[in-house]
C-alpha cells in the first residue's frame, strides 16, 4: 500500500521566521521548485511551511508526519523541526509514497483512483449490474426510479448511444476494467467512460464502478450549441441544484430542531428558507427541462409502459402532499391496464405535474381523479379535480410558457404545463384541458397505444 524510501542521511532545510527557505539540501530544493517555489522565496510546501512556523512560534522541538503533494504523487514525510533563534531547522528522515489505498486486483491502482477523483461523475452498480449509487453531474440526470435499473438502461439513458455503449456493457458483464471509452451524451456532448470492478479485500467482486469525464473533451458539433439553454441544462443546472439541495437540507434540519430547540420564530424562518429554496430548485428543474424540450432535435425513448401502473406510482408519490390538504387521489383499479408506447420517466413527469397542479388548485377535502382509457390509437390518462376549473378562453393560454393565469405565490413557475405538452407531443401524443363533470379542470394526456 505504501512504499517508503529509506534515506541514508536526513534531508535538511532552514526556514526563516518570514517563511523564507534559507537553505535546503538538493532534494528539498527540487521539491520546493516543483511545488512552484522560487530560489530564495517562501517555502512552497504548505505542510512543511506550517511545521516550520509552528516550531518557531512555540519554540518547541516538533516531530511529525507531514503529507505533501509532489507533481506525480502524494508523499508522507517524517520531519523533525527544531527552533534555533529565528530559524526553523527541518530534517526529513524518510518519505513514503502514498496511494489512495483501496486494493483492486488489476490495473494501475494509483491511476484508477486518480481518474476516480478526477471524474466528473461516477455510477456504482451492484454485482447484478443494477444501479445503486450515482455521484456528480450524472446524478442530476437520474431519478429515484432509475436506481435499481440495469446498467444497459442507465447508460442508454445517459448517452443515448447504444452502439458505443455495447463494448462497455460487455466489459461490465465480464467484470473487466476498461478505460476511456468515448461516447456521446444525450446533449450531444462527448464524454469518456472508464470502469473497473469493485473488489473486496477477500478478492470477491462487490460491484462495478464507472467514472464519467465530461470536461476533458471538446464537444462535437452540436446543432443546438448556440442556444442559451444548452449551457443552462448541462452546466448551470447541476451547479445550482447542489447548493440548493444543501440549503433545503440544512434549513429543514434547523427548522425541525433536530439539533436542539431554537426560538420559534427562527424555526419558522428556517422553514421559509427551505420552502423558498425548494421553489428555486423546482424552477431550476423546469428551466432545465425547458431547455431540453425546446431543442429542435429533442427526442424521447420509446418504452413499453402501462399507464395504470404509472398513475398508481404518481398517487403514491403525492399521497403525503394530498393528505396535507385532506385530498384523496382516486386511481384506476389494479386490473385496469392500458399499454402505451412512451418514455416512462417523461410520462411520470407529466402526470406528477398534472396531479400536483390538481392538488394545488383544489379546495381541501376534495378528490382528484386519475382515470385511464383507450380511444382509437391512443392511450389516455385523464386527471380531473374539483377546483374552480379553467375558463374555456384560457384552454390554450394555460399551455403557454410562463403563463400563470394571474396566479402568484403558489410555488409554480408557469413552465410545468408548457413542458408537459411539449413532452407529450414529442412522444407522439398531446396534452389538452377541458371542463370536468364536477366543474373543475380535466387534463387529458394522449399517448400512442401499444398494440398487444
Amino acid at each position: 500500500m505504501i512504499t517508503r524510501t529509506p534515506l541514508s542521511q536526513p534531508i535538511r532545510g532552514d526556514v526563516g521566521s518570514d517563511g523564507q527557505l534559507i537553505f535546503a539540501d538538493a532534494a528539498l530544493r527540487r521539491l520546493h521548485h516543483r511545488a512552484g517555489g522560487q530560489e530564495g522565496g517562501a517555502l512552497a510546501i504548505p505542510g512543511l511551511a506550517a511545521l516550520a512556523a509552528l516550531t518557531l512560534r512555540l519554540k518547541m522541538r516538533l516531530s511529525r508526519a507531514v503529507r505533501v503533494a509532489d507533481e506525480n504523487e502524494d508523499m508522507e514525510l517524517w520531519v523533525e523541526a527544531v527552533p534555533e533563534g529565528d530559524i526553523a531547522k527541518l530534517s526529513i528522515l524518510s518519505w513514503r509514497a502514498l496511494s489512495a489505498g483501496i486494493p483492486t486486483p488489476e490495473g494501475d491502482l494509483r491511476e484508477q483512483h486518480f481518474k476516480a477523483i478526477d471524474a466528473d461523475s461516477a455510477l456504482l452498480f451492484d454485482t447484478s449490474l443494477r444501479l445503486v449509487s450515482a455521484a456528480g453531474d450524472v446524478a442530476m440526470q437520474l431519478e429515484r426510479v432509475d436506481f435499481g435499473k440495469a446498467a444497459s438502461d442507465i447508460l442508454q439513458k445517459i448517452t443515448g448511444d447504444v452502439r458505443r455503449t455495447q463494448p462497455i456493457l460487455d466489459a461490465m458483464n465480464a467484470k473487466q476494467a476498461f478505460a476511456a471509452v468515448r461516447v456521446s451524451t444525450v446533449d450531444h456532448a462527448e464524454m469518456l467512460i472508464s470502469g473497473h470492478p469493485q473488489v473486496m479485500t477477500n478478492g470477491d467482486i462487490s460491484g462495478y464502478r464507472c467514472d464519467l469525464h465530461f470536461a476533458l473533451l471538446p464537444k462535437v458539433a452540436d446543432p443546438a450549441a448556440g442556444s442559451p439553454g444548452v449551457l443552462f441544462g448541462r452546466q448551470l443546472a447541476p451547479v445550482l441544484r447542489q447548493p440548493l439541495g444543501r440549503i433545503i437540507a440544512n434549513a429543514e434540519t434547523i427548522g425541525s430542531e433536530l439539533n436542539g430547540p431554537i426560538r420559534e420564530n427562527y424555526a419558522l424562518y428556517a422553514k421559509d428558507i427551505a420552502n423558498a429554496a425548494r421553489h428555486l430548485s423546482a424552477l431550476v428543474d423546469d428551466l432545465g427541462d425547458l431547455e431540453a424540450v425546446e431543442r429542435p432535435n429533442f427526442a424521447t425513448a420509446r418504452d413499453n409502459i402501462e399507464l395504470g401502473d404509472i398513475t398508481r406510482r404518481v398517487a403514491g408519490l403525492l399521497a403525503l402532499k394530498a393528505a396535507d390538504h385532506s385530498i384523496r387521489i382516486v386511481t384506476p383499479t389494479d386490473d385496469h391496464k392500458v399499454p402505451a408506447v412512451a418514455e416512462f420517466r417523461r410520462v411520470l413527469q407529466i402526470l406528477l405535474n398534472l396531479v400536483t397542479n390538481a392538488i394545488r388548485y383544489s379546495p381541501d377535502g376534495t378528490e382528484v381523479f386519475i382515470d385511464i382509457a383507450i380511444e382509437e390509437d391512443f392511450a389516455l390518462v385523464m386527471v380531473s379535480d374539483q377546483g374552480a376549473g379553467i375558463d374555456e378562453s384560457d384552454y390554450e393560454r394555460v399551455f403557454e410558457k410562463f403563463e400563470r393565469l394571474g396566479r402568484s405565490g403558489d410555488g409554480g413557475s408557469g413552465l410545468g404545463l408548457y413542458i408537459s405538452r411539449r413532452l407529450a407531443r414529442a412522444m407522439g401524443g398531446d396534452l389538452t384541458v377541458a371542463k370536468a363533470a364536477s366543474g373543475g379542470a380535466k387534463f387529458t394526456l394522449r399517448l400512442p397505444v401499444r398494440q398487444t
Binding site: 505504501i2 516531530s63 511529525r64 508526519a65 489505498g101
Partner: protein, 333 residues
C-alpha cells in the same frame, strides 16, 4: 416492512400464543431499532447522547489536577497556598474557563479512554515496541525506545505528565499557569518565566507516546502491517496510530471511537483500513468483549463483508470532518 414480514410468518388470526410470540419478536426488534438509533445518534451528537459518566468526569479532573500540579512543580512554585490538595493556580485557571476548553478536555477524555482500553489488553502479551528496540533501522529502534519510555508507569507517576501533552496544549497550559501565578501573587517572578521557557525548550514531541507510535507506523515496512492491526501484538498506541494513519483522522478521535459504547464505529474503521472479518472480530472481542450483545454480533456478521471498504472510509472521513468542525467551533467560542 418489519411488521409485514412478521405477520406473514405469524398470522394474527391464529392461536393467541402466536400473538404473544409476535409481541415478543416485535419487542426484540423494537429494542434493536432503538439501539441502532442510539448508535447513529451517538456518532452525530456524541456528547448529547453519551454524556460522560461520573467516573469519566472524575478521571478527567484527576488527570487535569495532576497535570497542573506537575507544571507548577516544574516551575518551582510553592504549594503553600494550595487548598484542599488542588494546585495553587487551579481556582484561577478554572474560573478563567481554560480548564473547560474543548481541545484540553478532549485530550484528557482521550487519555481516560486510553487507560480504559489499555486495561483490556493483557499485560503479559509481548508487545511489538519491545521487539523493535533491536531493529537495524536506528529510527525504528529510537522510536520504540521513546514509546516504551513514554509509556512506562514509572515516568507517568514522576511528575512529568505534561510531557505527554501535544505541544500546542503544553505551550498554552504552561503560559496560562505562569499568568495565573502572576495574577495570584500580584507580581511577576522572572525565575518562573525562565523555568517556563526551560520547560518548553526541554519538550520534545518525538518523545511522546503518540508521536513515537506514529513514527513507528511511518517507518515500519509492509511485513509488519498485519501486526500493526493486532492490538495484542502492537499495543494500543501503535494500533491506534496505524488506524489513524490509515484513515487520516486524529489519533485521539480513533481512541474515542473505539471507546464508544457501541462496537459499530470500530467495525467501520477496521473495514475502512481493509481488515478481514476475522481480524476485525478479534479486535472487537478484545475491546468490546464484555459489552457485546447478540445484536452487535449479528450486525457484525451480516454487515462487515457487505460494507464496502471505500464506503466505510468515506463514512470515517465524515466523522473526522464533523469532529474537526466541532472542535474548531468550540474553540472559537
Amino acid at each position: 416492512m418489519l411488521c409485514a414480514d412478521i405477520s406473514m410468518e405469524l398470522p394474527l388470526d391464529e392461536l393467541p400464543n402466536k400473538r404473544e410470540e409476535l409481541l415478543a419478536v416485535g419487542a426484540v426488534h423494537a429494542r434493536d431499532v432503538h439501539a441502532l438509533c442510539n448508535d447513529v445518534a451517538a456518532m452525530v451528537f456524541p456528547s448529547a447522547i453519551t454524556p460522560p459518566t461520573e467516573a469519566t468526569i472524575s478521571a478527567v479532573t484527576g488527570k487535569l489536577v495532576a497535570l497542573v500540579s506537575d507544571i507548577e512543580s516544574r516551575l518551582q512554585i510553592s504549594r503553600a497556598d494550595a487548598a484542599g490538595g488542588l494546585p495553587g493556580t487551579w481556582q484561577l485557571l478554572a474560573r478563567s474557563g481554560f480548564l473547560r476548553e474543548a481541545d484540553l478536555v478532549d485530550f484528557m477524555l482521550a487519555r481516560v479512554a486510553e487507560d480504559r482500553l489499555e486495561a483490556k489488553i493483557p499485560a503479559s502479551t509481548p508487545q511489538l515496541s519491545a521487539q523493535l528496540l533491536a531493529h537495524a533501522d536506528a529510527n525504528i529502534a529510537e522510536a520504540a525506545q521513546s514509546l516504551l519510555a513514554a509509556d512506562s508507569l514509572h515516568r507517568r507517576t514522576r511528575g512529568l505528565s505534561y510531557q505527554a501533552l501535544r505541544p500546542e496544549l503544553l505551550h498554552r497550559l504552561c503560559w496560562r499557569v505562569v499568568a495565573a501565578l502572576e495574577v495570584g501573587n500580584g507580581r511577576r517572578d522572572e525565575q518562573v518565566v525562565e523555568n517556563a521557557r526551560a520547560l518548553i525548550s526541554d519538550y520534545d514531541e518525538g518523545q511522546t507516546a503518540l508521536t513515537a507510535a506514529h513514527k513507528l507506523v511511518h517507518f515500519l515496512d509492509e511485513e509488519y502491517l498485519a501486526d500493526l492491526l493486532d492490538p495484542e501484538k502492537a499495543g494500543l498506541h501503535i494500533y491506534v496510530a496505524r488506524l489513524a494513519q490509515g484513515l487520516q483522522i486524529d489519533h485521539d478521535h480513533v481512541l474515542h471511537l473505539i471507546d464508544s459504547h457501541s462496537s459499530a464505529p470500530l467495525g467501520v474503521m477496521l473495514r475502512a483500513v481493509g481488515c478481514n472479518a476475522e481480524q476485525a472480530m478479534a479486535s472487537i472481542y478484545l475491546f468490546k468483549g464484555f459489552s457485546l450483545t447478540p445484536r452487535d454480533v449479528a450486525l457484525f456478521e451480516r454487515g462487515f463483508e457487505v460494507l464496502e471498504q471505500d464506503i466505510a472510509h468515506a463514512e470515517v472521513c465524515r466523522w473526522g470532518y464533523a469532529r474537526a468542525q466541532y472542535l474548531a467551533f468550540q474553540q472559537k467560542i
